[in-house]
Amino acid sequence: MSAVAAPAPSTTRRPRRWRTLRRFVRHPGAFAAAVVLATIVILAIVAPWIVPYDWNETDLGARLGAPNAEFWFGTDLHGRDVFSRVVYGARYSISIGLATVTLSLLAGSFIGIVIGYAGGRIDEWGSRFIDVMLGFPQIVMAILVVSILGVGLVNVVLAVAIAGVPRFARVVRGAVLVVKEQPFIEAARALGAGDLRIMLRHLLPNAVPTLVVLGTLDLGNAILTTATLSFLGLGAQPPTPEWGAMLNSGREYMRYAPWTMMFPGFALFLVVMAVNLLGDRLSQVLDPRSVDRK
């Protein structure tokens, strides 16, 4: 994650790239988070080769068996290996998070740039609409969308993405409003650049640092929201080893087999915390006013 996310904003400022990255990893919290996240991502990628058992194979061990040398995280009600399921669950949670954020980021930026650049009545109406959408808590919004689209992983991704759109749109619109009045935009227009070119080549790149920070911070949120929906039975369906769904199915047996909830919960906590630490650090590094930047 860190290797991908950090250099992105500096494409137009090549010489600063390595300094930014260095400053970024020097922070102990961010460094630890990067290591944790990298480990989980790698585990998720190589899952098929490293997990000891098929995540969907029932009756491997005793039902609700405690963790032991054979089953590191214990077994669930159906005798499935919790470790294999948690590792596979990383694939779902992380890719769902990324897909969700990408969708809301794309849609949100598009809306933000268009209404910010167009101004006038379009901006007025668009902004009011965004305000209204922001009035709903994200989870309530997502549940509303799921109730229209129906349950399932894909629908939950869409729901959480849609619920995230207004925030991106709002931030991008703000960034566009600031940049729009700068002399270099006027210069570009004087040189004959069209609206589309101005939006894509001049306005968008200037919003990228903000988008990266917001996107990273939102990633943790998106992972948590999808897990919440799965926990409520609206998202991933059995036997998918999505962490939220695993938490839900372990709930009834928490007293007798806490490991069926503990490990997916801990994995969720690790990923969300790592992503949030990275996001915080990114916002410091990329903020032009940050003292730390000097």
């Binding site: 009756d59 349950v151 059995p238 199915s249 047996y253």
Partner: protein, 531 residues
Amino acid sequence: MTGRRTLLLAGTILLAGLLGPMGRGHAQDMTIVWADDSNSDVTYDPRVTQSRHEEQVIVQVFDQLIAADENGKMSPWLATSWTVAPDNKSVTLKLREGVKFHDGTPFNAEAVKFTFDTIADPKTGSQGAVDMLGPYEGSDVLGPYEIRVRYKRPFADAVSSYTENELSPVSPTAVQKLGNTGFAQAPVGTGPFKFVSWEKGREVVLERNPDYKWAPSFSAVQGPPKVAKIIHRFIPNAATRVAALEAGEVQISDITPPLDTNRLADGGKFKATVGVAAGLPYGLLLNTSRGPFAEKPVREAFMTAIDRPKLSQNLFFGLAKPAWGPLAPSMAAYSKSVEAYYPFNRDKAAKMLEDAGWKVGANGIREKGGKPLSLYAPCLLEPDTCVAIQGDVKRVGIDLKVENVLKQKQDELIFANDYDVLPIRWVNNSPSVLTIPFTSANIPEPGKFKFNWARWADPALDKLLADAGSATSPEQASKLYTDAQKMIMDAAIFFPVHDQVQTVVHSAKIKGLRYAVGQWQVRLQEVEPAN
């Protein structure tokens, strides 16, 4: 000041010393709290209800004409004797004298006639009782305590129907005074407990009927109950019920999770009593109208691929037994012949699919003509059971797509005929319950919610069930129901999974809980301190 306080204290201690043992001995103020897993009760009118939760209250407030113990053994109650006409089209009952409803109305033949007539009246909106009353034609009052109940056709179930909670006599004056809606909120019966109050979604309060002296002969407590007050508290969350039980806030919890039931019963401070509910066991209806399940060999292979004894042991930790037929083994009409059907045999199941042309394809899922052997199972009841079945059938190459659904989604899928497997269960004391999910008249249609989710139409089965319902003798009915059970199993449309169990856990300080017939509701009339 100090002196007076000391005196007061001494007096209190003396009084407590005197009253203490007395109070315990007579249990004058004994209150028990029942924790119920529902909070959606709407009526306590026995003539209207079809909810097993509502019946838990009804069973304390009302008596029946004929008493049945937990195993269905009948004995006189509000009726002291009964005679069935030779043609099975009428029953003459002699009624007990000296019985009064809670509002003081005397119980007599008029009250019974009023109850039955109003059940048959569509204005009452009866959901359960009207089915149990069968082909009711009318009642003749032969004397103040003698009544003849007439039926349009021979009705073999007549006598056993008088043991049902739904046919409990209601107080005619109370119904006339309160109206049907008012009566549903403030029921008046002849039972051991009187209705006091009902706070929706929170609790119902019942108090002892001090005049009660007509308990059935099998009851250990003749005369008024030892319990002064019952609080029927709605606690839909199982973990909360268990916590309340352990904290001593409630004395009895119904539908206790299996692991908690075992743990509490082993600890010594609690006792568990497990009822095997009458009716349709928990099972799967297989949609025969579309997809792979239109082929009978696929349905048979599906059933053969599932290890029921292991599954029920795994999910219920020994509390529920595997089910083998469409009726619960606790019912008299249960036929042991069903136990021969579809024993678990994974290799045989695989071979049956192979022979039917379903060959193993990508990812181990079987295919035929390019179509995967994929079946959609929306699971409203017991998703964990569906997941366990999913694991079993995957081993023979069937891809069972389980989805946790809510009631509304399930109902939409039923209307749209968009499912292959649906779980069902039905608590009911009569074998005529088989008509509900298996007769062709009950195939769901858009706008008409019905329960033949297998969408199975077989005129022979329809006729068999109709004949069994109007059989002229219980022996003949029993024979016809045996044939019906076999016919249903032969058709491979219903896969019985496990017995429905009611797991009631109660404090070891009390005793005397007794299941009503059907083994779901618990009668609290005999409850008393354990020591």
